[in-house]
């Protein structure tokens, strides 16, 4: 959109600060279910949000009309909100120093989506779906979602332009015998930045998924009891997300989310002092890891992104708090003011939140366990509003007996409390066990927002976990 920055600056109102954040996003989703192409989703979503600091308040207004008239109306509306609420605002906005950065950031693709003809993409999905056909299979799907996003953050003196390309492959199979039903999938977690080159072994996944689901149908229900657990990286994604990521969001700790997403068992005083987990636990906020799903150069409030230690050697160091939350709380944080689109305001979110690699090879991890279960691919997640008492379920379980992986078990679940669970971390896998995952569906905020997050982790071993089956 030509001259957008100049036009916006010419319209700036009487205010301490104003910004315009414009997003333009194209999404195409191809899904083949039961060998039938489902209606193709082709979405283009574009618009802008203005934010105005005035009269002691901060207001926003979002519009898809980026003409001079549209921008002027949005600026007036945002300013009116700021002024109308300034005397009764939740915190002194004078302590907030908005950013006015300049620069560009581009996430690229080696093999862009557009270079693969539609026929090739559909052929791939029809092939994956058809190869999931087997006795007892009741539903088969294969899908690809591609997203291209550009964002501009414009202030009176600065402008940042960023662009991203994402690819999200998935496949799933459900099989049933009588009322025994089992499913296997890629878990929706293979989302990454990049193009067709990120597909990896997607074309080969039916073989493993099908073998797994047939094994699960024939398996016993997971046994119950306290035992060791080894979580594969695709379940670590969920474990990190729910019981480290969300409780460390500073806006939750400040109480903003108490009406919806909840609070946290973590308080401000615990940063720098609280042993979150065993000394093996190392967590980083890393928006710069190449290809991870939530990499970016600046957050949606213009703060430059950089790698930050969140938990080091088990000690809690830094919250997931944006510049605004940092100013309110008086502690340092991360560049994580993020919005799901042009029509939602930025709030504190996760981005790439990773568990750092350890030193234990997978075979050694298993060999050291007398009685336990190895769990893969999340299928159920539930945690209390303080992010403490959790219960998670997986698609795949395999017993560990006498240092060996033995029989498959179905419907594995485990539950626990966040602090005790992370303090029971006994081994962290080496680079050979590492996996990089991402999901586009992290929900939070009022109004509600879903954002993209990335989580990379090795396999991890926890002791004395409450495990149980589903029947």
């Amino acid at each position: 959109m030509p001259n957008l920055a100049a036009r916006f600056r010419a319209l700036l109102p009487d205010a301490e600060f104003a910004s315009l954040r414009v997003m333009d996003e194209r999404t195409e989703t191809l899904t083949v279910r039961q060998d039938v192409l489902q209606p193709v989703r082709d979405v283009r979503d574009a618009g802008g949000m203005v934010t105005v600091h005035a009269g002691g308040g901060i207001g926003y207004a979002a519009t898809a009309d980026l003409s001079d008239d549209g921008l002027q109306q949005a600026l007036a509306r945002a300013r009116a909100w700021a002024v109308a609420t300034g005397s009764r605002f939740a915190f002194p906005t004078g302590s907030v120093a908005p950013a006015s950065p300049a620069g560009t950031w581009r996430g690229g693709a080696t093999r862009p989506w557009s270079t693969a003809p539609l026929k090739d993409r559909l052929d791939l999905l029809f092939d994956v779906c058809s190869r999931l056909r087997a006795e007892n299979v009741v539903e088969r799907t294969a899908s690809l979602m591609q997203i291209e996003t550009t964002s501009r953050y414009i202030t009176a003196t600065g402008e940042v332009e960023q662009s991203w390309v994402y690819l999200l492959p998935d496949a799933s199979v459900v099989a049933a015998v009588g009322d025994r039903v089992q499913s296997r999938s890629l878990g929706g977690g293979r989302a990454a930045q990049g193009g067709m080159e990120t597909l990896g072994d997607f074309a080969d996944t039916p073989t493993e998924l099908l073998a797994d689901v047939q094994a699960l149908l024939a398996a016993d229900d997971c046994p119950s009891g306290a035992m060791d657990v080894v979580l594969a990286p695709d379940q670590m994604m969920l474990q990190i997300h729910e019981s480290i990521g969300h409780p460390l969001e500073l806006d939750r700790i400040l109480g903003d989310e108490r009406n919806y997403a909840g609070t946290s068992f973590v308080t401000q005083e615990m940063f720098g002092a609280f042993k979150y987990g065993s000394p093996l636990l190392n967590i980083t906020f890393d928006p710069a890891l190449a290809g991870e799903f939530a990499s970016y150069g600046w957050d949606d409030a213009g703060t430059p992104a950089e790698r930050v230690w969140i938990i080091r050697n088990g000690l809690l160091e830094t919250p997931l708090g944006s510049a605004l939350s940092q100013a309110r709380a008086g502690i340092s944080g991360t560049a994580n003011a993020r919005a799901c689109s042009w029509n939602r305001p930025p709030i504190d979110r996760m981005a790439n939140l990773n568990l750092e690699v350890g030193t234990t090879p997978f075979e050694a991890m298993i060999a050291g366990i007398e009685r336990g279960v190895y769990l893969k691919t999340n299928r159920s997640w539930s945690i209390d509003d303080q992010r403490d008492k959790f219960q998670f379920g997986c698609e795949w379980g395999q017993l560990i007996e006498g240092g060996k992986l033995t029989k498959v078990v179905r419907n594995p679940n485990y539950r626990g409390r966040s602090k005790a669970f992370w303090q029971s971390l006994a081994h962290v896998g080496d680079a050979g066990t590492w996996g990089k995952f991402g999901t586009p569906y992290c929900g939070k905020g009022e109004p509600n927002q879903v954002v993209r997050v990335g989580h990379a982790s090795p396999a991890c071993h926890f002791t004395n976990v409450d495990v149980f089956g589903g029947e």
Binding site: Q34, V36, L37, P39, V40, R41, D42, V43, R44, D45, A46, G47, I58, G59, A61, A62, A64, D65, S67, A74, R77, W81, A84, T85, R88, F89, A90, L118, K119, V138, E139, V174, D179, R180, V181, S183, G255, D256, R258, N259, Y260, T263, N343, P345, S380, S382, D384, D385, K389, Q391, G393, N413, R415, E446, P447, N448, Q449, D466, F468, G470
Partner: protein, 443 residues
């Protein structure tokens, strides 16, 4: 907005060529969103958004594109011209769709509610004044404004829907994580009702001030308020509990009900009640929603929700369900237990104000889990004794709505969906509380 939709629809339908079917789905809102924290304003703003989905059908193939509209006809119509070029290029590349099933024939409906909302700033001032006067730590969210939807197709359909509503959900916090949650939603704002609800919530805080009781895992006689009960109904609905496709592919959490292996309590009746709801009466393919679809009748399986695609795939009759086959206007029949008698009927047990973050321990047999949240109390001999710290339940819907269901409340509560993911939801729910002989707590 209606004239804007009609101009859009006329333009789209005029762009169709002989042998083509074209349709447009329209969704728009002008919403004010205001967050509150500690009795003050945390984040106020407004969102103006309009979206059109253009569908082109020819030779049994379909292609569609969803585009944000600016509200300017000239700019938006240029965009639609580009969409038609792209759709006509794409259509021959797609295989025929054997489940393509658009509504056909002349059908025109219109529902337009006369807006009765005051300026949102006025509602915000009312809320702040009430929080200040009550001297309470209020945290909450107000969503208010107009929502529109439309559908038109070259097969003769044209539907229009307009409503304006507010939904204010809030908590009053005593300290730490001790709070009571309330909501006030509707089409007409009355400050007196807000005042009454804030006073009511503040009174409930006095009980929450008592030392909390720590419960051990085990089975407890339980009263679920309508708000808590809603979490279970939504869980079943959101995961395909009433979906024909989920039932046919063995993925419904109520699979054993649809398969005839289990029944629910004869006290339980559930329906998709379009007449009693506030959602548009048409779906994305122009199908009209019938007045009501009985889903569960006195514990026995009723009708499943059948989308147009499932109808063709499984040889069923469509009944206005959207593609997800989730109910939009769920209603559960009432029982005989008056709200005023719920504590006495509970006797000794757990009074659950809200449930939270429900999911499945095993979806395929309806085994659910979740947490208690907000005002949840321990009751002895019909008297509230103490608040209870958040506990996890893990129990089967077939027990909760079956053998363990002792009574349903005599009064149903209507609740509007507070969901604002992507856009403001128009889903609604009407259901009573439930008295359970036991509920299994695990953590």
């Amino acid at each position: 907005m209606k004239s804007s939709f009609n101009r859009l629809a006329d333009y789209v339908l005029a762009a169709g060529r002989p042998g083509e079917i074209v349709s447009v789905r329209f969704a728009a809102e002008q919403s004010d969103f205001v967050r509150f924290n500690r009795g003050k304003v945390r984040q106020p703003g407004s969102v103006d958004q309009r979206v059109a989905t253009i569908r082109l059908v020819a030779h049994g193939r379909q292609a569609a594109a969803e585009r944000t509209l600016s509200g300017s006809d000239a700019a938006d119509f240029r965009g639609i011209d580009e969409v038609f070029v792209a759709l006509r290029e794409r259509l021959p590349l797609l295989p025929p769709d054997p489940q393509l099933h658009l509504a056909a024939g002349e059908a025109h409906t219109e529902y337009a509610e006369v807006p009765r909302l005051p300026p949102t700033e006025e509602m915000v001032a009312n809320i702040l004044d009430e929080a200040g006067a009550a001297n309470v730590d209020l945290v909450g969210f107000l969503a208010a404004g107009a929502v529109w939807a439309g559908y038109a197709s070259s097969l003769g359909q044209r539907h229009w829907f307009a409503t304006a509503s507010f939904n204010f959900e809030w908590c009053l916090y005593l300290s730490g994580n001790v709070a009571v949650k309330s909501s006030y939603a509707g089409a007409a704002w009355n400050p007196a009702v807000l005042h009454e609800k804030i006073v009511e919530g503040r009174a409930a805080l006095s009980v929450l001030a008592r030392p909390p009781k720590l419960l051990a895992p085990g089975s407890y006689r339980t009263w679920l308020t309508p708000a808590a009960h809603l979490e279970l109904l939504q869980l079943a609905n959101d995961w395909g509990g009433f979906s024909a496709r989920a039932a046919k592919t063995s993925q419904s959490p109520l699979l054993n009900l649809w398969g005839g292996k289990q029944t629910l309590s004869p006290l339980l009746s559930i329906s998709e009640d379009a007449v009693g709801g506030v959602a548009p009466r048409f779906d994305d393919e122009g199908w009209e929603r019938p007045n009501a679809v009985p889903l569960v009748a006195s514990g026995q399986p009723g009708s499943l929700l059948v989308s147009s695609r499932s109808a063709l795939e499984y040889g069923l009759t469509p009944n206005g369900a959207a593609r997800e086959e989730a109910a939009q206007s769920l209603a559960m029949g009432t029982g005989t237990l008056p709200a005023a008698g719920a504590l006495a009927a509970l006797g000794t047990g757990l009074w659950v104000g809200n449930l939270w973050y429900t999911n499945w321990s095993n979806r395929f047999i309806g085994r659910a889990t979740g947490m208690t949240r907000f005002a949840t109390f321990w009751v002895e001999n019909g008297e509230v004794v103490a608040p209870v710290q958040a506990m996890r339940f893990d129990d089967s819907l077939f027990r909760i709505w079956g053998s363990e269901l002792e009574a349903l409340g005599a009064e149903a509560e209507t609740m509007l969906s507070g969901s604002t993911y992507y856009r403001r939801s128009t889903d609604s729910f009407r259901l009573p509380g439930a008295l359970l002989r036991s509920l299994a707590l695990t953590l």
